[in-house]
């Protein structure tokens, strides 16, 4: 592996920028994701930064099931994220559709629309669980 590749890999795993996206969830996972970014849990110490635009992000942190309304928009957002991109599904709904399974307005989990790298189950997962998911993702980043 060339030096440049090594450098890129190092940079990627030391500062993954995330885009937090609610694809139709109930907010509970969103506040836990935000809580993970706050002083008490502070995932920023891993170099993780919350971004506003998909074009700046490396990792899509998705919460909630995919609603039929969000599906085409979500695909569009996903396509805007530069390669290589990673997707984290936070919460039961994002993993499988969870409690909303069978509702007419939803498609199912995130993986019905885009490939998912890390699943974090829980309703909502505690910030510790989200941090664990992040650590697993970072390990994956180092492997790429």
């Amino acid at each position: 592996m060339g030096l440049l590749n090594k450098l890129v890999k190092w940079a990627r795993s030391k500062s993954p920028w995330i885009l937090h996206l609610n694809t139709g969830g109930c907010n509970a996972c969103d506040i836990e994701v935000l809580a993970a970014l706050m002083p008490r849990f502070d995932v920023e110490r891993f170099g993780i930064l919350l971004m506003g635009s998909p074009r700046h992000a490396d990792v899509l942190v998705c919460t909630g099931p995919i609603t039929k309304q969000m599906k085409p928009r979500f695909r569009k957002l996903y396509e805007q994220v530069p390669d290589p991109k990673f997707v984290m599904a936070v919460g039961n709904c994002a993993c499988t559709g969870g409690v909303f399974k069978g509702c007419y307005g939803i498609e199912g989990g995130i993986d019905t629309t885009v490939p998912v790298d890390v699943y974090v189950p829980g309703c909502p997962p505690k910030p510790e669980a989200i941090i664990d998911g992040v650590a697993k993702l970072l390990a994956k980043l180092q492997g790429t």
């Binding site: 694809t23 139709g24 506040i31 836990e32 008490r40 309304q69 409690v99 909303f100 909502p124």
Partner: protein, 395 residues
Amino acid sequence: MSRVTIPIGPQHPALHEPEHFQIFVEGEIVVDVKPRIGYVHRGIEKALENRTYIQGAFLVERVCGICSNAHQCTFMMAAEEAGGIEISEKASFIRTIVAELERIHSHLLWLGAAGLEIGFETLFMYVWRDREVVMDLLEAISGNRVNYAMNILGGVRRDISPELADKIRKGLDYLEERTNYYKKLCLEESTIRKRTDGIGVLDPITGVKLGATGPTIRASGIKFDVRKNDPHLKYDEADFELITWDTCDTFGRVVVRVLETIESIKIIRWCLNHMPKKGDIMPEKLIRRVPEGEAYARFEAQRGELVYYLKSNGTDKPYRVKIRTPTLANILSVAELLKGSYIADVPIALASIDPCFSCEDRITFVDVEKEKAWTWTREELRKYSREFNEREKRW
């Protein structure tokens, strides 16, 4: 001056949930706003019809994760009213305590988010740090930080022991001290005042006409609070004040929420002191079926009045549930209160109603619009967009 349309959302840094707003501006001034809701529509009301009350309790909780207890509690209140099920004194106290703890959590969350919107990140970090205290208390009571699953038909699922009550009291002392500090901060700090004074003005008459509720309308000086006007749970006995503010702007909404947090702490203290030591918290035998009847339950959720209509038919599943959430009531006033403000003030003015789109997006009203959007082919959509643009030019 020519009119420019600025689309905000469905994904936007100022919105934490998918929602779309078309903002029409002339220069820097907002002249009109069109909210487009429905991205979070999941079909919960329909799903409730083929789930039992016990399953439904977990589903309504996830209408909105921030006011989860309010939803579950109102659903249970409606079912109990419809079926004539009584709840014990102690269960009623516990419901009130959890509801008020949730209000504190939600109001602090909002205060932090508002700090973020106005670029006051220190406030954001401080408030969210202190909010962890109330999250810990809720976790100690219910076992989960969010979505507490406390209510069942005829009572609550978990008791508050005297040791736990002491822990809550200790937590409240800390929260009270911090909230008083935020109160001082909000009333005196010029950073907050400069960004919120006179922004997003909603005069009381328009507010009432558009059906705004909760802190949004109380900040316009209207004394409307279900806890006082139509008391449920233990609110008729609890000693607290109805907070209003008469500046009608975003600043008023900040102050109302901070002061309400202090009142909530008072209510919880009162409940802990007056809660019966002994007594059942739930019926001995789990209630599965609700006798035939219909009911209409009102609850003062954090964002305003939450209403559940429930019709039962004697089986273990509700016949029909209709939910009316506070954000839906408030979203109409958004268009009104954004008019005339600067583009830069849109995020905070929008946030000032504490919008919760996951709450709002289950309503039938959305279906109508949504059906349209679904059935349109690309060509039809293009045609509509052309027509729409032509109309825009004519304006």
